[in-house]
């Protein structure tokens, strides 16, 4: 536990001392949500902004949390600090848990900032319970994204090898997770494949709660799947992180 906290503290210090990283992880999603607002403003008034605003903000958090976490961990390998941590007695579980803790703060901030901006810019009027649930689901998605980043990083030997996973995992989730069209309208195989992406389950909760009259029973299944996603990815990452060449 002590070494987990050490890794987490070090990850946070690194994040805070890297201005480019901070700009990319915090300012970029806010700017993109604003660009989305400008784009949506050109569409006819009949366009259902609420159907897309929060899911797109959730997607941005998902994409950036995944990418930044994966690249940070791969950098540990390319710089030789991963090997050095292992030789200094850190265990796989301590390193992974330290990263989860370190990125949890960033994921929380991204979830709060992205969601708050989307709700403010698009003038979405939700009650407190709905806002609370939207935060919970975006936050859970951010954590799952961090876990996905950790897991994927174990397959990359350098930063460049992370990027092929963007078109493989992140971009298909835009089309197959119900973000743009209902998954029921997709071919059966694509509908089935869509269920494999964490964004599908997050979007499922978001679409349920932005409609009036939702109850916790309606969303608990998808929330549980999202949480289970994180646990399974964490376990897989613990197994695949290479300690020895």
């Amino acid at each position: 536990m002590r070494r987990t906290v050490l890794v987490a503290g070090r990850v946070v210090r690194q994040l805070l001392r890297n201005p480019r990283f901070l700009v990319l992880s915090v300012a970029a999603p806010l700017v993109i949500v604003y660009l989305l607002k400008i784009f949506f403003d050109t569409l006819p008034e009949t366009f259902d902004v609420a159907r897309y605003a929060v899911p797109v903000a959730a997607f941005l958090v998902h994409f950036l949390a995944f990418l930044l976490c994966a690249i940070s961990l791969v950098q540990e390998r390319t710089m030789g600090t991963m090997e050095r941590m292992f030789v200094n007695g850190f265990r796989r579980t301590e390193i992974i848990a330290g990263y989860v803790l370190g990125f949890l703060g960033l994921a929380t901030f991204q979830a709060v900032a992205g969601l708050a901006e989307a709700i403010w810019l698009f003038e979405l009027d939700y009650d407190e319970e709905t806002l609370g649930m939207l935060f919970v689901v975006v936050w859970l998605l951010a954590i799952a994204s961090v876990m996905l980043g950790i897991f994927i990083s174990t397959f990359a030997r350098h930063e460049g090898q992370v990027f092929p996973f963007v078109p493989l995992i992140i971009l298909p989730s835009v089309f197959l997770s119900g973000l743009l069209v209902e998954v029921d309208e997709l071919p059966a195989w694509a509908d089935w494949l869509g269920h494999a992406f964490p964004l599908f389950w997050a979007n499922d909760v978001i679409q349920d709660v932005i409609e009036s009259g939702w109850s916790f029973e309606d969303v608990q299944g998808s929330l549980a799947v999202l949480a289970a996603y994180s646990v399974v990815l964490l376990l897989l990452a613990s197994l695949t992180l290479r300690e020895v060449e």
Binding site: R2, R13, Q14, M79, R84, F86, V87, N88, G89, F90
Partner: protein
């Protein structure tokens, strides 16, 4: 008990054999140098000993412990400075050393970090981010990270590359002090003047150890060239051989007044090492 025992250690990467049955032993308090050209297997051997690499065959023991099976215990007792800087570039020198020191529950960590900053001549830049440092300064921080928890066996992969001669001399003074306190140092180097400072060296070529001896012992395998200058004929005669052959070579000359100068030139360690490597390649 020796600090390090290696027997028949091999490592294959596909078809490439990086280590071909390395054998060596290093005693406690010894400074042992690993000498060889690029790609000889020096880093592979060091990684095998610190448990960062799974050997394909053979055995390795560090303080009687298996670097892989007993790594949890062993890693508390060893220090490792890799060939690359292996530092967090966004963090300061002090933060880097403190992070690795804290991993070992190092007592009086703050004091030790301050001492190491002073020793590495980094006191004035200790709180600057490492990405603003030169290559030599990064090597100093990296060495400090390896020493902060006072390990019993220290593995240093080319520790003085890009370090200026004055600081290198200070590093070696510290290595000698650490060895005097009972620490074992296992150092890979390209530099022959550094190899001369080791207690013993092993010469590694293409994954195979071709010689292990004291630097003096290796030097004695070299050739000595004797040049005799006659004033009357204005000729030079060069006789090559080992030191023990020289007396016989000089005997025919006696001490003739015509012999005005005798020059003796002995192979440098570098020349001997190169010659041993060439011999191994031919044989």
């Amino acid at each position: 008990m020796n600090s390090i025992e290696v027997s028949g250690l091999t490592k294959r990467y596909g078809r490439v054999e990086a280590l071909e049955g390395a054998d060596l032993s290093v005693g406690r308090g010894e400074i042992f140098g690993l000498v060889g050209p690029n790609g000889a297997g020096k880093t592979t051997l060091i990684k095998g000993l610190v448990g960062a690499l799974r050997p394909s065959g053979g055995t390795a023991r560090v303080m009687g412990l298996n670097p892989l099976r007993d790594r949890a215990v062993l890693r508390q007792r060893i220090g490792y400075m890799p060939q690359s800087a292996a530092l967090y570039e966004d963090l300061s020198a002090r933060d880097n050393v403190r992070f690795f020191g804290a991993a070992h529950r190092t007592p009086d960590l703050k004091k030790k970090v301050d001492e190491l900053m002073h020793f590495s001549d980094l006191s004035g830049r200790a709180d600057d981010p490492v990405h603003t440092f030169s290559g030599g300064m990064k090597r100093r921080v990296s060495l400090a990270c390896a020493l902060v928890h006072r390990p019993e066996v220290i593995f240093l992969d080319e520790p003085t590359a890009a370090v200026d001669p004055q600081l290198r001399s200070r590093f070696w003074k510290t290595f000698r002090e650490l060895a005097g306190d009972g620490a074992t140092l296992f150092i890979s180097t390209h530099l022959m003047d550094e190899a001369m400072l080791c207690d013993r060296i092993a010469i590694l070529r293409k994954g195979r150890i071709i010689a292990t001896d004291t630097p003096q012992g290796v030097l004695e395998q070299g050739r000595t060239r004797l040049t005799v200058v006659h004033d009357d004929t204005d000729t030079k005669e060069t006789i090559g051989g080992h030191p023990e052959d020289l007396a016989a070579a000089l005997r025919p000359y006696g001490l003739q007044p015509g012999v005005t100068a005798i020059g003796v030139e002995t192979d440098s360690l570098e020349a001997v090492v190169l010659s041993l490597i060439e011999k191994a390649e031919v044989g």
